[in-house]
Symmetry: C2
Subunit: 219 residues, 2 copies
């Protein structure tokens, strides 16, 4: 068996679990977002604030993926939302089988939406379907404005791009971050991508993101 | 053939090329550093400044790994240093075979050191030897102080940790970054890791890093 054949068989097993997850989520009328970014883009802070601000409007359950520790799930549970931690023990992305196990631990009947925070990695998670309705990519302004050009896969496949930490643009060291370059490059890769510049820390720009989230549940 | 066996065979082919690279580098009395970080930690800026500031003291050649584009090699060539770009076409790490090809394009006889800037990814590159003398991990303060705990492999395997963008610690949004937490967590994983807080943009802290680099060539 050559490498390519083995690769196809592994992908196919993942695809089967992804399909099962999609069916389970559909049976519960749940929207599921697969959130992908580099380490440290602020995904967990973004999720915690989203859950808190959307209380009463959207019931969100969370699946946290990390190589090690359950630090992120602890931060989400502090918001009172249900959260399941998956420790990948060194693997660079979540698998659909791991998500299948985690979905079984969430109170699906009491939720409107499941958000999966994938392992911090802008490359590998883009290639593994988990059964999600859509992928979301998060880019912190501290990472630089060349990232859509240099890491195109995830920008090409995401329904939305959250440009996080825009409050840091006031720092002298980040004055050359060009939001328009990010918009242009991401839109070239993906004409339908929705782009939300925001700061999960200060709250700036979050309302447009919340409206987009709420619209996905209604539609 | 099960997945584990295939994994071993792939690793073994990579290890063979890594061994060949190490021998080629040793034959030219060259130190080789494999620089690993998340996207946007500032590796290329760091390299460009290091090359410029070390001119006359250390002759550095660079191998740039990116999924797409040769933007980084262009930035290095602007410093007059020789640079070879490897486009991985979507792969999440450099392979020893790719580095083997790139070494053949560098003027090895005219260099003291080769620095490989790996694909921006804090996970996968840690597992693939390239024939380097040592790994270097770069962490931007914007990524947060919990990264050694959450992504332990690369911190456990690196000879040095560069904590970059410390000029941004003056920004209100990064005031809670705890450099001591990074030091403690990284040192728990790796008692011999050398830690350099610095800013490649302002130059703060760079001299200690330069001394460390120069000492590796002398030793």
């Amino acid at each position: 068996m050559d490498k390519q054949t083995v690769g196809k068989r592994i992908l196919s097993a993942n695809e089967q679990f992804a399909q099962g997850n999609a069916e389970l989520l559909a049976a519960h009328n749940l929207v599921c977002l697969n959130m992908i970014s580099s380490p440290g883009s602020g995904k967990t802070t973004l999720l915690a604030r989203t859950i808190t601000d959307m209380r009463g409007r959207l019931r969100i359950g969370v699946i946290e993926g990390d190589l090690r520790t359950d630090l992120d799930a602890q931060r989400i549970r502090a918001t009172q939302a249900p959260a399941v931690q998956i420790e990948t023990k060194g693997s660079c992305h979540l698998s659909a089988e791991q998500v299948h196990g985690a979905l079984g631990q969430l109170p699906l009947a009491d939720l409107d939406m499941v958000i999966i925070e994938n392992v911090g990695n802008l490359v590998c998670p883009a290639s593994f379907a988990l059964g999600e309705s859509a992928k979301i990519v998060v880019l912190s302004v501290a990472e630089g404005d060349d990232k859509p050009a240099k890491y195109p896969s995830i920008f090409a496949r995401s329904a939305a791009l959250l440009i996080n930490k825009i409050d840091l643009l006031a720092a002298e060291g980040l004055a050359d971050f060009d939001t328009d370059r990010v918009r242009t490059d991401a839109s070239l890769l993906n004409r339908s991508i929705e782009i939300f510049p925001l700061s999960a820390r200060t709250g700036q720009g979050m309302e447009s993101w919340y409206d987009w989230l709420a619209a996905r549940v209604r539609s």
